[in-house]
């Protein structure tokens, strides 16, 4: 299985609606307090946007990788998570509590957001540099070492 996942990681294709080299689209989404927040305001540094939902087994493993990125890089890298199953704060509060998430999660069951990012399956991980430009999109499970390379990619950009 690890070999298969590794192959997926190296044979990456981008099918998402977001374009590499362009500004990441941003939207107002509900946060865990049911407050509408433009998540674009958080893209003020190298940022990872992670799309997930509750029925995806591998997605929970990526959460563990992201927590380790957060621990290693702290405020140098922003991590935003979006649960495409969540329609309001209830589900994301429960999700954040379950994983003790140290970064924000937004309710992503929003047709405009899903269309703009083309989220027809999960996991999807969007890597954005500090200028807000999309540098990489990974649309499948990611190995931890690949995640680390992608983090370095967005941190190195001038």
């Amino acid at each position: 299985m690890k070999l298969l996942l590794g192959l997926l990681a190296v044979t990456a294709f981008v099918f998402s609606s977001v374009k590499i080299g362009e500004k990441a689209p941003t939207f107002e989404l509900l946060d865990e307090k049911d407050k509408r927040v433009d998540f674009g305001k958080f893209i003020d540094r190298p940022t990872i946007i992670y799309f997930t939902h509750n029925a995806c087994h591998y997605c929970t493993q990526i959460i563990a990788f992201l927590k380790r990125v957060h621990k290693k890089y702290g405020d140098k890298v922003r991590i935003l998570t979006i649960n495409v199953m969540a329609r309001d704060s209830r589900l994301i509060k429960a999700y954040k509590r379950a994983f003790d998430l140290p970064f924000p999660m937004f309710a992503g069951n929003d047709q405009k957001l899903i269309r703009a990012y083309g989220i027809n399956f999960v996991p999807v991980i969007v890597f954005i540099d500090k200028e807000g430009i999309v540098r990489q999109v990974v649309e499948h499970y990611i190995l931890e070492e690949e995640l680390e390379k992608s983090v370095k990619l967005i941190m190195e950009r001038k």
């Binding site: 298969l4 029925a55 591998y58 929970t60 379950a98 269309r115 499948h140 499970y141």
Partner: protein, 333 residues
Amino acid sequence: MRELNRREVLTLLLIASLTPTTGVLSRRLEDSKVKSVTLDITHYTKILKPLKKVKMWIPIPPTDHAQEVSNFKVISPYPYRITEEKVWGNRSLFIERDKIGESEIVIKFRITRKREKAVKDPSLKVELCLQPSEWEVWNKEIENFTDKVTAGEKDPVKIAKKIYKAIIRRTKHIEGVCGRGVSILTFEQKIGRCDEFHALFRSMLMYKKIPVSWEEGLILPYPSELKDQDSYEADCLKTISWVRFYDGKKWIPADLAEAKKRPELAEFYFGAIPPNRIRLSRGRGFKLEPPQVEPLSLFAYTHIEEEDGIPAIYGHHYRNVLSYKLLDMEVEK
């Protein structure tokens, strides 16, 4: 998988020519020649963390034109009841508790799964199979594409075949993701796994007023790859969907994703489905009995909701595991 050397190929050919047409020894023959498999299945719902105010629905396989289920048995530490939703007749093992701890609910059954082919099926309602789910709503671009591909064709089978080929040609198959099966996104992105292929196929056929059902279940290894016994995670990656469309007389099965994965069987998968799957439900977006809060785009693994209908997290709160034991395989002469 490594390639066989010449001696191994010759040995296999010799074994194939000498073995009877039924039984596990025949399993190296072509998947499309396998008429049925009989297996003992054990399906586990493993609760990994304590949960409060729990409602749990575990899908139960029906007996239908392509599968025969017997020896059904439940081993549960909690009281349960078998429920049936009204629209499609999908059945669940339902449990409701104030709290549950680390535990497992086990379902055992024997299944003879047959190669699926076109059949008359009064259990399928034509009107229901013309109603798109919220994930299969189509737009003008999909209509234009469908019109262009079918180019005035009137015969439903020929229309379906043209759409089948067009979707397979333009859509890339991907593994290792949990699909949402949204037609418009599949049309735009041209990628997906079974749910994406079949959502788009359904949209295009329904636009052409051809009734088409959504069949959902868990995948088994290809007949040629079935072991005597094995077990695996029965999560969203192991779900499989397929469709059956109506030509006015019979319901014709098709699996576009498998046809994409196995081009040598692309013709076969239009009109036939090998027996390496277990059907667990039919339709999309239906309300279970009793109704769940979260709309489900598919129902092929356990769905658990906590207080206020918050869905439990797969892999964190619970898991599904499927074990099988192969009892027999019937192969075409």
